[in-house]
Symmetry: C3
Subunit: 159 residues, 3 copies
Amino acid sequence: KSGEMAKLTQLIDNEVFRAYATYATIVLLKMMLMSLITAYFRITRKAFVNPEDTASFGKGESAKKFLRTDPDVERVRRGHLNDLENIVPFLGIGLLYALSGPELSTALLHFRIFTGARIAHTFAYLIPLPQPGRGLSWAVAYSVTISMAYKVLKTALYL
Amino acid sequence: KSGEMAKLTQLIDNEVFRAYATYATIVLLKMMLMSLITAYFRITRKAFVNPEDTASFGKGESAKKFLRTDPDVERVRRGHLNDLENIVPFLGIGLLYALSGPELSTALLHFRIFTGARIAHTFAYLIPLPQPGRGLSWAVAYSVTISMAYKVLKTALYL
Amino acid sequence: KSGEMAKLTQLIDNEVFRAYATYATIVLLKMMLMSLITAYFRITRKAFVNPEDTASFGKGESAKKFLRTDPDVERVRRGHLNDLENIVPFLGIGLLYALSGPELSTALLHFRIFTGARIAHTFAYLIPLPQPGRGLSWAVAYSVTISMAYKVLKTALYL
């Protein structure tokens, strides 16, 4: 059994795989932060969507008025959904890319630019920055994922 | 070629990895169930969003009245989106955690609590239970994911 | 170090894993395409959601009228969310399935049908085709994922 374990941990000993593990975890933690920011704005703006969430504000009409949408809450939620749409491809394609034997320096470049661009995207969305700030950061992360997908298909293509 | 296959299947022979495979599959099947529950409520509540989905109810105005939102449908959809937001990080961070060489008992504890909390979250959302039922189950699963992320970064950090 | 790398790249040398890598990447690229289609419709229909996105159309009321929903934009967005709901389970369960030692021909059958069904689903959603076109393509991809989940649990179950 220790032999199997040794082979398993070899994966996490590989530097490219460790880099993937690090940046994938960072970008997922960043995405998870969006849930806390949504909760923060829902509570401070008093803007909820589920009746049971407003029960502590009293009964009937007095609580019902907090069942409403708020521009700040909706903005964070759009940023969260955009994260899902872009981080899910990075997770999948990035894992396959890390296993396709790229140069460590090339892999680090991909992971760092993607992570930096998605963090910039969040700031651009939440502040908000004037366009093309958000659009540009989105496009950079998108392009990095396409570049990794190209390497995966070049290395592994088996239709 | 059989040598490679042997190494590949060693991954699935490892007990921590098998536990991850089991709980990741369970939690994904649970998430997939949300699609069926949404379909069930759309059909029983006659609340659709695409015009082509109401064609069997007749033409023109008689079908158009079924293009509407329904509170039960929207509730399931919110639960489904919350699953995506929380199960995607578990899938990614949990895989890396399983490869980072945790104790089997510790890993099982993490996977079981996460899975239990997300199942509880679904019940809390759909019944619905009074707060803080849903909030608590959400926070427990969220904390488990953070704990796994900490272990991954401690083991693999390579910036 | 080269020994570790050799073991890592063995994963991508395995034919079942290569097939998974190929189809997972294709289906993720297809999902990423939805972002571009959304952007295309937002720009051609002039239907935006963030005030900063309409700044180039002028100030005040003249720009504000472009902050609106458009049926075509919303349709693409629903297709994109449906992709997320169904491709995330395929990514996770498919990876575990590829590691559970299936026959190459059986694995290819699963990956090809899933990918074909999801591409058909996108066409059915965007054209749109009359039902049950979209429903059927959704159900086929869903069933393939369930079939892979069954194999994973049969091979790896460790509760």
